[in-house]
């Protein structure tokens, strides 16, 4: 009911136990390739690589991946269309290189999105956030983000349940009623989040919380083969794109 499909996929992915740093290297590498290499054949290769790796070795359900890739499509399509419509003294018209420019934009964006999704569908946030410490993100910030991650599921459950209860009592049967109900819903969830934080503080004090939320990070060792494969693959991808 409140599960986020991408998150669900990350927890059961075949790459779940791979080092988050390894996966970060691969995804960010692919994202940069998508951005920097010429769209043909660079973006196409990046997109294909991301999809093949996700659906193949990482065993992400195709349905989840496909649906998630569709999310930014509306923005990409509308944005690309807007850039190639030309406004001038003579009103609206197509830019001279409209098809190529739009195709280029869509190519970069879709390939980039697929590359980010490869990371998102294979790495739970609770693995990724501790890895940010290596990028010199302060521990306090990582802890705040970790609590955010845990608590957003608690609040999403409240949100959908309260909304369902409101709907049952006709709270969303018209625009007016719906606004009123949404205001109450937001207020209820805000109150709930406060209350949760206060009670959690009580609960954690009993477990000896003094400074910070230190936990033992899961040991997810880096794989030399994976890193070597990543570097070689990205280099090959870049070489092919530049030569072609």
């Amino acid at each position: 009911m409140t599960g986020l499909a991408v998150d669900d996929a990350a927890w059961v992915s075949a790459w779940r136990l791979r080092s988050p740093a390894d996966k970060l290297l691969l995804s960010v590498g692919l994202v940069l390739c998508a951005l920097l290499l010429p769209v043909w054949p660079g973006s196409l290769l990046v997109g294909l690589t991301a999809v093949v790796l996700a659906l193949g070795p990482a065993r992400v359900p195709a349905r989840t991946f496909g649906r998630a890739v569709r999310v930014p499509l509306a923005f990409i399509a509308l944005g690309a269309l807007t850039t190639v419509v030309q406004v001038g003294s003579g009103g609206f018209g197509w830019a001279p290189d409209a098809a190529a420019r739009a195709g280029g934009l869509v190519g970069h964006a879709v390939a980039g999105s697929a590359a980010v999704l490869l990371l998102a569908t294979t790495t739970p946030m609770s693995d990724l956030l501790p890895a940010l410490a290596r990028l010199r993100v302060p521990a306090a910030v990582i802890e705040v983000a970790s609590v955010t991650y845990r608590m957003l599921f608690v609040l999403l459950t409240s949100l959908s349940t309260i909304r369902e209860a409101q709907t049952a009592r006709m709270g969303h049967s018209g625009v007016r009623a719906s606004y009123r109900s949404s205001g109450m819903l937001a207020a209820a969830v805000l109150t709930r989040s406060w209350d949760r934080a206060r009670r959690l503080q009580d609960g954690l004090a009993g477990r000896g919380m003094e400074a910070g939320l230190r936990v033992l990070p899961e040991a997810l060792p880096s794989s030399r083969r994976f890193v070597a494969g990543t570097v070689a693959g990205l280099a090959a991808l870049a070489a092919v794109s530049v030569v072609a």
């Binding site: 309260i162 369902e164 049952a168 009592r169 006709m170 049967s173």
Partner: protein
């Protein structure tokens, strides 16, 4: 309000960890009688109740009220919700207004009634649940048992003919359970059919006219002492056998209890025992 029969036919709904939650569940809510819906946590009780209330659209199968099929359209749901109300387990998910009276008025206000009508509905609902004295109190100051009853009042103010309650007694102490059951009794007298989900088999035996066990995606429905005496079914459903049936059956074979239906609680059992062993009076 009047009693209307509500039914679910061959429902397929919900999907969790690679399996259907409900897979061919058929249930008839007998108009005007008390139905207890039993099942372990995660068995699909709540999914079934959500289908019956219209909150969840089943993948296959249908829900009917008085023979007419529930359509998941705006108008269809609107009509259904006026007749069938579901109260969820956690009262905090139902109470979102500042004060008790305001919260109970939420449904009637959305029905577009006049202020006087809304006021009358609220007063009536608070009275049925015996929480009139709480009307002006902020919801967050109430005890858990009080919040549960106010949440039910919010649904009752819609004047549904069928009231579905998900675990209305969970987390309540014995006295609060007694108060909740008394309120349900008044609701039934006021012509609402009451369905309660629970995993307390002793309570179900004591309270229900009929029970339905949700097990393996389906529903087994029948008389309480028959269904709750079926050990194979109970094992499949991860439920216990009510103590009264275990002890009662043994006392019956000893000739200490009369043949026929067994007593359903401790008081009835003690009353049914003879004054002297071996001699039935």
């Amino acid at each position: 309000m009047s009693h209307l029969p509500l039914a679910a036919e061959s429902l397929v709904a919900g999907y969790e960890r690679g399996a259907r939650v409900l897979d061919g569940a058929t249930l008839t809510v007998p108009a005007g009688r008390r139905l207890a819906l039993l099942g372990a946590n995660g068995s699909g009780k709540t999914t079934l109740l959500r289908c019956l209330s219209g909150a969840l659209e089943p993948t296959r199968g249908r829900v009917t009220l008085d023979g007419a099929e529930l359509r998941h359209t705006r108008a269809g749901l609107r009509a259904h919700r006026q007749e069938v109300q579901l109260v969820l387990q956690d009262p905090d998910d139902q109470l979102f207004s500042a004060s008790v009276a305001q919260d109970v008025s939420f449904g009637p206000m959305n029905l577009g009634l006049t202020e006087d009508e809304v006021r009358a509905r609220v007063a009536e609902a608070l009275d049925l649940l015996a929480v009139t004295h709480l009307a002006g109190r902020p919801t967050h100051q109430l005890s858990y048992g009080e919040r549960k009853r106010v949440a039910i009042a919010g649904a009752v103010a819609m004047r549904p003919c069928v009231l579905l309650l998900d675990e209305p007694t969970a987390g309540l102490d014995p006295t609060a359970v007694g108060e909740a059951l008394a309120a349900l009794h008044r609701l039934q007298q006021a012509d609402s059919t009451v369905v309660m989900s629970t995993h307390d088999v002793d309570l179900a035996l004591r309270w229900a006219d009929e029970v339905a066990v949700v097990v393996d995606g389906g529903v087994v429905q029948g008389a309480p002492d028959v269904v709750l005496g079926d050990d194979a079914l109970l094992a499949r459903a991860r439920l216990d056998r009510p103590w009264a049936l275990t002890v009662g059956a043994r006392l019956q074979t000893l000739g200490l209890l009369p043949d026929g239906a067994l007593p359903r609680d401790a008081d009835a059992l003690v009353a049914a025992l003879p004054d002297r062993p071996g001699v039935r009076t």
